[in-house]
C-alpha cells in the first residue's frame, strides 16, 4: 500500500515537473512573441494613423513641399526632412574621423593602461542623458557657434544647424568608437603580424589591413550611428533654432523631424489631419531607423560569426 503510494507520488511529482516545465515554456514563448508583435504593431499603428493625411495630400507632395501651415491644411515636410538630413550629415562628418582615429589608436596603438582610462571616459559620455548634452550645447556650443559666425553672414544667435550637428556628433561618438573597437578586434593578430613582417608601419597596417578588412563592419557601424543621430530629440531640439525653413547655410536655424514631433504634440489634437501628419512624421522616422538598424545588424552579425 505504502509502496504503491510512493510510486504514485513519484510519478505524480515527475509529471507535474514536466507539466510545469512545458507550461513555463509556453509562457516564455508568449513573452518572446509579444516582442515581435510590438514591432509589427508600431509599424501598422503608425501607418493606419498616417492614412488620413496621405489621402488628402499625395506622398510626393508631402515629401517635397516646403509649406508648413497645419491650420491651413498645408503639410510640406521638406524643411524637416532636410533639417534631419543635414544635422545627421554634419554629425557623421565630425564624428567619423574622430571615432575612427580614436578606435585605431585604442586597438592598434594604445597600451592596456591607457585603454583602462579611455573606456570609462567613453562610458560616461555614453551614459549622459540627452538633456544634459542639450544644456551643455546651450551653454558652450551655441555661444561658440555664434562667435564663429563669419562677418559675411551677419549676426547669428548660435541656435543653428551647425550647433545641432556638433551636439549630435558628440552624442554618437561613444557608440561609434565602441562599435569600431569591436569590429577591429575581430581581425586576427596573424594578419597584422604578417603585415609588420613585410616591413609595414603600424599606420600602414591599420589602414591597409585592419580598416580594409573591416570595411563592411565600419559601414554597418556608421549606419547604426546615423540611425541614432536621426532620432536624437531633446538635445537637438534645444540647440537647433526650430525654424520650419530649409536651411541654406551652416548658420541657419533648422528643424529636424524629432523636434517637430516634440514641439507639437499638444497642439496636434486640435485637428485630426494635423495628428495624422505628425504620425506620418513618426512613421518616416520609424521606417528609416528600422531599415538602417536591420541592415547594419545583419552585417555586424555576419562579421561576428
Amino acid at each position: 500500500m505504502i509502496k504503491n503510494f510512493t510510486i504514485f507520488w513519484k510519478k505524480f511529482r515527475n509529471s507535474s515537473r514536466i507539466f510545469l516545465d512545458r507550461f513555463a515554456g509556453k509562457t516564455l514563448l508568449f513573452c518572446s512573441v509579444l516582442i515581435l508583435v510590438l514591432v509589427l504593431a508600431m509599424g501598422v499603428g503608425l501607418t493606419l494613423k498616417s492614412i488620413p493625411v496621405l489621402q488628402e495630400i499625395s506622398f510626393s507632395e508631402l515629401m517635397t513641399g516646403s509649406d508648413w501651415q497645419p491650420f491651413k491644411n498645408k503639410f510640406g515636410f521638406l524643411p524637416f526632412l532636410m533639417g534631419t538630413v543635414y544635422v545627421t550629415l554634419i554629425a557623421v562628418l565630425i564624428a567619423l574621423p574622430l571615432s575612427l582615429l580614436s578606435a585605431i589608436f585604442l586597438t592598434e596603438y594604445a597600451h592596456r593602461r591607457i585603454k583602462k582610462y579611455v573606456f570609462p571616459v567613453l562610458d560616461i559620455l555614453a551614459s549622459l542623458p540627452s538633456v544634459i548634452y542639450g544644456v551643455w550645447g546651450v551653454l558652450v556650443i551655441v555661444p561658440l557657434v555664434s562667435d564663429l559666425t563669419p562677418e559675411s553672414y551677419g549676426f547669428s544667435s548660435g541656435y543653428t544647424l551647425l550647433a545641432a550637428g556638433i551636439v549630435a556628433a558628440i552624442m554618437i561618438v561613444p557608440l561609434m568608437v565602441s562599435l569600431f573597437v569591436e569590429v577591429f578586434s575581430t581581425v586576427s593578430q596573424d594578419l597584422r603580424d604578417a603585415s609588420f613582417a613585410m616591413g609595414a608601419t603600424r599606420w600602414q597596417t591599420a589602414i591597409k589591413v585592419v580598416v580594409k578588412k573591416t570595411l563592411p563592419g565600419i559601414f554597418a557601424s556608421v549606419v547604426l550611428a546615423v540611425s541614432r543621430a536621426l532620432g536624437e530629440t531633446i538635445a537637438i531640439l534645444m540647440v537647433c533654432g526650430n525654424m520650419a525653413k530649409v536651411p541654406e547655410s551652416l548658420f541657419d536655424a533648422c528643424y529636424p523631424l524629432p523636434s517637430l514631433l516634440a514641439n507639437n504634440y499638444g497642439e496636434m489634437l486640435s485637428l485630426p489631419i494635423y495628428e495624422s501628419a505628425l504620425m506620418f512624421a513618426a512613421l518616416i522616422l520609424f521606417v528609416v531607423v528600422i531599415v538602417f538598424n536591420l541592415v547594419s545588424r545583419l552585417i555586424l552579425r555576419k562579421i561576428r560569426e
Binding site: 515554456g25 513573452c31 559620455l125 542623458p129 540627452s130 514631433l261
Partner: protein, 282 residues
C-alpha cells in the same frame, strides 16, 4: 625620412588629438554642469515643490520632478525586469543555440533598441488617446518600460549567450528540467543582471522624449497612476526655456542632480561587473 615614417608620425599626432578631444569633451560637459549647477543649487530646490509663480522666478524647487522620475524609473525597471528575465531564459535555455525563432526575436529587439524614444512616445500617445487615457504616470511608466526592455534583454542575453553549455548539460543529465536549470543559470549571470539593470535605469532616467508625450508634466507629486507626473529631464528642458535667470538657474541645478544620479549608476555598474564576477565559471 621615408614617406611612410612621416605618415606614421602625422597619423600618430592626429590620433593623440582625437583621444585628447574625447577627454576634453567629457571634462567640458561635466565641468559645465558641475560649475553652473553647483554655484546655484540650494537645499530648497531639491527639497520643495514648485511654489506659486514658480515659472516666473518665484520660490520653490523641483522635488516633483525628482520624485516623478524616481516613480517612473523604479516601476518601469521592476516591470521590465519581470518581463525580460523570462525572455532571456527562453532564448538561452529553452531554445537551441541555432534556433531561427531566437534569431528573429534578437533581430526584433535590436531594431526596437534603435527606435527613437520620441517615436515610442508618439505611438503610445495615440494608443492612449484611442483608449481615452490622458497623459499620466501610468502612461509614462508603460512607455519607459517598453523603451528599456530591449536594453535589458539584449545586455543580459550577451552574458547568458556565453554561458558554458556544459553546465546546462550537466544539469539536464542529473534529471533536472529546463525550468529547474534556470536556478543554476541565475547564479551564474547575476552580475550581468545587475549591470543590465543599472544600464537600463540610466537610460530610463535620462529619457525625456518618451515621457514628454505620455507622462505629461505636473507641479505636484502624483498620487495615482492616472495623474500626470513631472520628470527631471523635462523639468530641465522647460525651465531652461524660460527667460528668467532664476528659473534657468533651477534648470542648471536640476541638470546637476540628474548628472550625479547617472554618474553614480554608471560607476556602480562598472564596479559590479569588475568585482562580483567571482561566482562565474570561466
Amino acid at each position: 625620412m621615408k614617406p611612410s615614417i612621416i605618415f606614421e608620425k602625422i597619423a600618430k599626432v592626429l590620433m593623440y588629438i582625437s583621444i585628447a578631444t574625447l577627454f576634453l569633451l567629457v571634462v567640458s560637459i561635466l565641468a559645465t554642469i558641475f560649475i553652473k549647477g553647483g554655484s546655484v543649487i540650494t537645499w530648497e530646490m531639491v527639497s520643495s515643490l514648485p511654489g506659486g509663480g514658480f515659472y516666473i522666478g518665484k520660490g520653490g524647487g523641483f522635488l516633483n520632478a525628482i520624485v516623478g522620475s524616481l516613480m517612473v524609473v523604479l516601476s518601469s525597471t521592476a516591470i521590465g525586469l519581470i518581463f525580460s528575465i523570462p525572455v532571456v531564459f527562453y532564448l538561452n535555455i529553452y531554445l537551441k543555440q541555432k534556433s531561427r525563432f531566437a534569431y528573429w526575436v534578437r533581430l526584433a529587439l535590436d531594431s526596437l533598441f534603435g527606435i527613437p524614444s520620441i517615436v515610442y512616445g508618439a505611438f503610445a500617445f495615440t494608443v492612449m488617446i484611442y483608449f481615452g487615457m490622458r497623459t499620466s504616470l501610468g502612461g509614462g511608466i508603460l512607455v519607459t518600460t517598453i523603451l528599456i526592455i530591449p536594453i535589458f534583454i539584449r545586455s543580459m542575453d550577451e552574458v547568458a549567450k556565453n554561458f558554458p553549455q556544459d553546465i546546462l548539460e550537466a544539469s539536464f543529465s542529473l534529471g533536472a528540467t529546463r525550468l529547474e536549470t534556470i536556478g543554476i543559470v541565475v547564479r551564474q549571470i547575476a552580475p550581468g543582471i545587475a549591470t543590465a539593470t543599472l544600464l537600463s535605469i540610466g537610460r530610463a532616467i535620462g529619457d525625456a522624449a518618451g515621457v514628454m508625450y505620455t507622462a505629461g508634466f505636473s507641479d505636484s507629486i502624483p498620487e495615482s497612476l492616472s495623474q500626470p507626473a513631472a520628470t527631471l529631464p523635462l523639468s530641465i528642458f522647460f525651465q531652461l526655456g524660460a527667460p528668467q535667470i532664476e528659473v534657468q538657474n533651477r534648470a542648471y541645478a536640476a541638470a546637476l542632480v540628474l548628472t550625479v544620479i547617472v554618474l553614480i549608476l554608471s560607476i556602480l555598474g562598472r564596479f559590479i561587473t569588475n568585482k562580483f564576477s567571482k561566482n562565474k565559471l570561466k
